[in-house]
């Protein structure tokens, strides 16, 4: 992460610690990171309304947890960690609900993608999204963080609490699977 950005985050955290400026600091943090967090969540849960609900929960968790944040990690990796966990919890709850109603969960994510406004299976960016949705959950997180958020492995390691080596292997596997998906699709 950029040094100047990290310094800016430290200043925001210091502002947050003062009761009088707490809300202002929180709003500044949201302004800085909420859009990135939204896209990270959206790529995982696909649907906009679901992403918005998850983001609301994330912002509540940030508000409640920020006072106890000990700055052992970067603010933004901490925010991404909360967003990732919330998105995965949301998907888990959807899975449980699908199991109770005996419906197909994996199919429901695929259906959500197909139901998206402007979906066109012939367009490469939609095909890529279909390929990403076919990945296992954790691999999808790793792939998105690396490919779209362009995150260094060290920061991904803080977010996912996984070793850099394991993350590299996971990302390479994901890339190969996405490739295979494309090859199958275009045969």
């Amino acid at each position: 992460m950029d040094v100047s950005l990290a310094t800016e985050d430290q200043a925001l955290l210091a502002t947050f610690k003062t009761e009088a400026t707490r809300e202002r600091a929180f709003t500044a943090i949201l302004k800085k990171y909420s859009e990135r967090l939204y896209w990270h969540i959206r790529r995982l849960v696909v649907n906009h309304d679901d992403a918005h609900d998850v983001l609301q929960n994330v912002s509540i968790k940030i508000w409640k947890g920020l006072a106890d944040f000990r700055e052992e990690s970067n603010l933004y990796t901490w925010l991404y960690r909360i967003a990732t966990n919330e998105a995965l919890s949301f998907l888990e709850s959807q899975k449980r609900r699908a199991a109770l109603s005996l419906s197909d969960y994996e199919g429901s994510l695929e259906n959500k993608l197909v139901a998206e406004k402007g979906f066109d299976a012939r367009k490469i960016e939609w095909r890529l999204q279909q390929a990403i949705q076919s990945l296992p959950e954790k691999q999808r997180v790793v792939f998105n963080l690396r490919y779209y958020d362009e995150m260094p492995y060290e920061e991904m390691s803080e977010i996912t609490r996984t070793s850099v080596g394991a993350l590299k292997a996971s990302y390479h596997h994901a890339v190969k699977k996405v490739e295979a998906f494309f090859k199958e699709g275009f045969h």
């Binding site: 960016e125 939609w126 996405v178």
Partner: protein, 195 residues
């Protein structure tokens, strides 16, 4: 080298077609969503903060909650000290024993009657008593080759008596010897006194 370039190089080293693909985001977002987002999120937080104050419409009497822990502790201690055992009066005790005894007797009688009724011997005797003597005699002569009922009974009686007499005449040493010989089939060696 920037992070973006690093990632591009990594994809190229994997010879992945992803290296040459545009990274465009295909998802659509409602118009003006990001402009409203901060406002909406901070409103959610404000609502969340208000929840504890507004979600409980009940009120407790003034000062009730301050004294509540002490009150609960005193009540618990008092209840512990005032545990009493109330003894039964002799008449009530006696009536309980009598009721239990009647119940046991009734149960014993019932069980006894049940097993007696079920015993195969009594069932056979009951059925045989319904058959007339002549039919039994015909059956016995048919089965035992012309021996009539009286003769059969006399033979069985005499055989029984002979067995008893023979056993009575046996010496205890002979019985012990026999028992010791048949120890293998589960018999126990007995001394003279037992015999």
């Amino acid at each position: 080298m920037s992070q973006s370039e690093n990632i591009q190089k990594e994809l190229e080293s994997l010879s992945s077609p992803l290296a040459n693909m545009p990274k465009g985001q295909p998802f659509a977002v409602p118009e003006g969503y990001f402009a409203r987002m901060i406002e909406e999120l901070t409103a959610t937080i404000a609502q969340e903060d208000e929840l504890p104050r507004t979600s409980i419409p009940f009120e407790a009497p003034e000062g009730y909650l301050d004294t509540l822990p002490d009150q609960l502790r005193d009540t618990a201690l008092k209840a512990d000290k005032s545990k009493k055992v109330i003894p039964l009066s002799p008449i009530r005790k006696l009536s309980r024993i009598a009721a239990a005894a009647i119940l046991l007797m009734g149960l014993g009688f019932g069980v006894n009657s049940y097993f007696r009724a079920k015993a195969p011997e009594s069932v056979a005797a009951r059925h045989l008593s319904k058959v007339d003597k002549e039919s039994i005699s015909t059956y016995v002569s048919h089965q035992w080759g012309g021996v009539d009922l009286e003769t059969g009974a006399a033979v069985a009686e005499s055989a029984n008596n002979e067995t008893h007499d023979a056993i009575a005449k046996l010496k205890s040493s002979e019985i012990r010897e026999y028992l010791n010989e048949h120890r293998d089939v589960g018999m126990i060696e007995m001394d003279e006194e037992t015999l």
